[in-house]
């Protein structure tokens, strides 16, 4: 067993309370100064199915969920049957011995059987999770008090005796473990360094609040609902209006309406909801209304795999809506990054007066991780805003060198204008009805598109493309979004084996940072694309934007996140082959 980290799996059916156990453990780890990374694998069903919480914690930064565990907390037999062999030698299975069985074949890989006689330890069978968690505390040498605190908090809104009953069950479980088993001696370095425990969705939500976003409209959709669920109770207290709408079409159009008034506005959804938002993405582009749209990708196509992760919407967001207009698309990578990127998205939306899309994925949005800290005092730039103008003089869509037309918020004396989705002139008067006017049309297209020149320059500074890891490496792993952690882990392993490796992630998807990216990638020795879809969408985009074709690809599209060791094996196989001859692109003939 590796030292100084602990890996735990909690498994059961939906409705068994796995998430509660998992979340309690996460808080307990964090409060004891440990860092953690957790992923919950579940299905689109309310009761039943198989929920599987996978968590690793340790005193150093932890990057991925564990592929094996020290302790398996099994809440049903199915969990034992499916996962017992994933317990490391010397580890163990914690289970309710009244109802479940660990048989010799379950221990074939060296796991111990830690049966808990629940009915003897507590009167209420519903306490089994508490008992098991307490036993876990003992085995991993974590203080029982942290569990007691977590229980008090969890049941704070219930009657006092619920808290009491849970605490008693915990003590009984702890005591039982102490009398029957020995701690694992994992050597976890407990400290009082405090960290935050959060998901990507929560980081996005807090990022929006930090940016002074005051309007969030959404329609529930997994895996984006976490944003709504966090903001619904927490937003209004901070002056944010949180509006659940009748559908995603209403959600984005409301956000556009609010955005038009000068209120920072955001909407969030997953791919199917984004499909419905498509038309209005172009509306924001044409009206030049600032708006932030979060698309948390899940397994597609169509309803697909609602609770599984995928990176399959790249071309959907790139192409969304008819015609051409400026849009900014950013793919955050980590929880911190999700926070800062979201906050910055509002600055970009305000400055460039266009839709900004945050392309997250289920893995990033729903996994739980410890975060050292978040700087809540983010920079806030509202872009060019006119505060008083002479009525005749104000042109909402003034053609400027930057393409950016200073915005007047409705209610500003002397600035009356109409924003129209039809093509319009600088004043906003439509030119599609009585006289179409080709030169004006051309001017307005160019004005709008020109905004992206500056945006590109700014983004190339804010999010300068760069290799992470050994310079001049033999191998560069390329990816985007949540797989950054996987890429880091793989790079570390390759380095350990003596292969110099670095990683490259595409963060700014549009406007693409072609020059910077080409400069970097064209100097790399060997590129391997790793992404979570079937057609290698990012490799295709890279070829379109840079001409660089990455034909070595590791793709996964079964809904489960990459498993590091499995992926490592695939990577090794690829690297063992001589690289395919460079297929030269053909230029400008």
């Amino acid at each position: 067993m590796k030292r100084k980290t602990v890996s735990v799996w909690v498994g059961g059916a939906a409705g068994d309370g796995i998430a509660s156990v998992g979340e309690s453990l996460a808080k307990i780890f964090a409060r004891n100064g440990l860092q953690l990374y957790a992923y919950n694998s579940y299905q689109s069903v309310i009761r039943g199915g198989h929920v599987w919480w996978q968590m690793r914690a340790g005193s150093e930064k932890v990057y991925t969920q564990p592929e094996n565990c020290h302790l398996l907390i099994a809440l049903n037999q199915d969990t034992i049957d499916q996962h017992a062999l994933g317990v490391e030698r010397g580890g163990g299975i914690l289970f309710n011995a009244d109802r479940l069985q660990v048989r010799p074949e379950h221990m074939a890989n060296g796991a111990q059987s830690f049966g808990l006689p629940i009915s003897k330890l507590t009167k209420l069978p519903i306490m089994q999770n508490t008992v098991a968690t307490a036993a876990f505390m003992y085995l991993t040498e974590l203080p029982l008090e942290s569990l007691e605190k977590a229980l008090s908090e969890r049941f704070a809104k219930k009657k006092a005796d619920v808290v009491q009953a849970n605490i008693e069950a915990a003590r009984a479980g702890y005591e039982f473990a102490k009398q029957n088993w020995k701690p694992f001696g994992l050597g976890l370095q407990i400290s009082d360094k405090q960290r935050l425990v959060m998901t990507g969705n929560q980081a996005i939500a807090v990022g929006a609040l930090a940016a002074n976003c005051k309007f969030y409209s959404a329609y529930p959709m997994t895996p984006a609902s976490g944003i709504l669920h966090f903001l619904a109770p927490n937003g209004p207290k901070r002056g944010m209006c949180v509006k659940q709408c009748e559908d995603e079409i209403a959600a984005i159009n409301m956000a556009i309406g609010a955005g038009q008034t000068g209120t920072r506005s955001m909407t969030g959804t997953s791919g199917g909801g984004f499909s419905l938002m498509t038309e209005a993405v172009g509306l924001a582009g044409m009206l030049e209304t600032p708006i932030v749209i979060v698309n948390v990708q899940r397994g597609g196509p169509s309803t697909g795999l609602p609770t599984k992760t995928e990176q399959g919407d790249l071309f959907q967001v790139l192409g969304a809506s008819q015609g051409e207009f400026p849009r900014i698309i950013l793919a955050p990578q980590t929880i911190e990054d999700a926070f800062y990127t979201t906050a910055e998205a509002f600055n970009l939306a305000d400055k460039y007066q266009c839709p900004v899309i945050i392309l997250s994925d289920l893995m990033l949005s729903e996994h739980t991780e410890t975060v050292d800290k978040l700087e809540l005092g983010v920079k806030i730039e509202r872009g060019e805003i006119v505060t008083e103008a002479n009525g005749d003089g104000y042109k909402r869509y003034l053609d400027t060198p930057s393409g950016i037309s200073p915005r007047a918020l409705p209610g500003t004396r002397g600035t009356i204008y109409v924003s129209a989705s039809d093509e319009h002139d600088e004043k906003g008067v439509v030119i599609s009805d009585v006289f179409t006017d080709p030169p004006t049309r051309k001017k307005m297209v160019e004005k709008r598109m020109r905004k992206m020149d500056n945006a590109r320059k700014e983004l190339a500074k804010t999010y300068a493309p760069a290799l992470e890891g050994t310079p001049g490496a033999e191998v560069t792993l390329v990816g985007w979004g949540s797989t950054i952690n996987l890429l880091r882990a793989l790079a570390r392993r390759l380095e350990e084996e003596g292969t110099k490796t670095n990683i490259f992630l595409v963060k700014v998807i549009a406007p693409f940072l072609t020059e910077e990216t080409t400069a970097i990638l064209s100097k790399c020795k060997r590129l391997v694309m790793i992404e979570q879809n079937f057609t290698s969408q990012m490799a295709r985009l890279l070829r379109m934007e840079t001409g660089i074709r990455i034909s070595d690809r590791i793709l996964k599209y079964d809904g489960e996140p990459f498993a590091a060791s499995d992926t490592f094996a695939q990577l090794k196989k690829i690297l063992a082959k001589t690289p395919a001859p460079a297929v030269a692109g053909v230029g400008s003939r």
């Binding site: 808080k27 964090a30 409060r31 960290r195 935050l196 425990v197 929560q202 807090v206 609040l209 930090a210 002074n212 005051k214 309007f215 966090f230 927490n234 937003g235 209004p236 207290k237 901070r238 002056g239 209006c241 949180v242 709408c245 009748e246 079409i249 209403a250 159009n253 409301m254 556009i256 309406g257 609010a258 955005g259 038009q260 008034t261 000068g262 209120t263 506005s265 209005a280 509306l283 009206l287 978040l374 809540l376 005092g377 806030i380 509202r382 918020l409 409705p410 209610g411 004396r413 002397g414 600035t415 009356i416 204008y417 109409v418 129209a420 989705s421 039809d422 008067v429 439509v430 009585v434």
Partner: protein, 284 residues
């Protein structure tokens, strides 16, 4: 009382001569003048259609949005800055066709906004296809042998949907129409004014004379605007007798009044403040 001319924009309406929408526009300009509104405090939001071109001809802030989406956009405007007077204008296709889902939910939501539908029972801008309010068996470009669907009843739908103010006007009755607008705008909550606004080009069935012959005024009949059942009964009249006026008006709490985040003034006017670190307690 301001001058209605204040609400005329620089752009001359490009509707066909005789189009009912002229009357809708004029009466709205009169109503806003009568109410002494300031153009800078009004936002008119429309969808797409001949009727939805109105904001361009009306001197106030305006948004000419997507076909069928005036309601959600306007709702966002109202939530973003509820100090604005928000008026939505559009057509029967826009509001009762593609946009009817938003209409149904807007009534439940009861934001303090006014919805004016120029109901010409046809798709004007796309050159004459059937609309949801086209009468059964009427021939249009898309129903050359006669429309097979029953006509949607906007008044009944609004009542069933929980609208707190439901009225109908006729662009051939401009003074009544202006009065209806005034009431609708002053009404606290979602207000629908359905307007018979004849399309002289594509609807040869429901013409000015056709309406003139049939329309009568509810106010002449002592109709009780607080009586839901009576309103629903009146809403069922179609054919020989077409009631104009306020069918129903009954204020209840508006969304803005109830929404906690709006209690300190318009969202758009809130000062920028750093987020309180207390939020992080959620994560420890």
């Amino acid at each position: 009382m301001a001058d209605a001319a204040v609400f005329k924009s620089e752009i001359k309406p490009d509707w066909c001569p005789g189009c009912g929408d002229f009357g809708v526009l004029n009466s709205l300009q009169k109503a806003c003048a009568d109410l002494n509104l300031d153009p800078k405090d009004i936002m008119v939001v429309s969808g797409i259609g001949c009727s939805s071109n109105l904001p361009g001809f009306f001197n106030s802030y305006g948004m000419h949005t997507l076909h069928g989406r005036s309601i959600p956009v306007a709702s966002g405007v109202k939530l973003g800055n509820h100090e604005l007077t928000v008026i939505m204008t559009g057509g029967d296709g826009d509001g009762y066709g593609i946009g009817v889902g938003h209409f149904v939910h807007a009534m439940r939501r009861n934001l303090d906004i006014t919805y004016i539908v120029m109901d010409n029972q046809i798709y004007g801008l796309t050159t004459g296809q059937a609309s949801p309010t086209t009468e059964r068996l009427v021939k249009t470009k898309s129903t050359p042998t006669g429309n097979l669907e029953s006509q949607l009843n906007p008044i009944a739908l609004a009542l069933a949907g929980g609208a707190s103010f439901v009225a109908r006007g006729f662009s051939g009755e401009p003074l009544q129409l202006a009065e209806l607008y005034k009431k609708a705008i002053q009404h606290k909550g979602f207000a629908l004014v359905d307007v018979f606004s004849p399309c002289v080009t594509y609807n040869k069935t429901n013409t000015y004379p056709w309406f003139k012959e049939r329309c009568y005024k509810l106010e002449d009949e002592n109709h009780d605007v607080k009586n839901f059942d009576a309103a629903m009964k009146k809403s069922q009249e179609w054919g020989d007798k077409l009631p104009l006026g306020v069918f129903y008006a009954n204020e209840r709490t508006t969304y803005e009044e109830a929404e906690p985040s709006l209690q300190n003034g318009a969202l758009s006017k809130q000062p920028t403040v750093p987020l309180d670190a207390a939020i992080l307690l959620e994560f420890v």
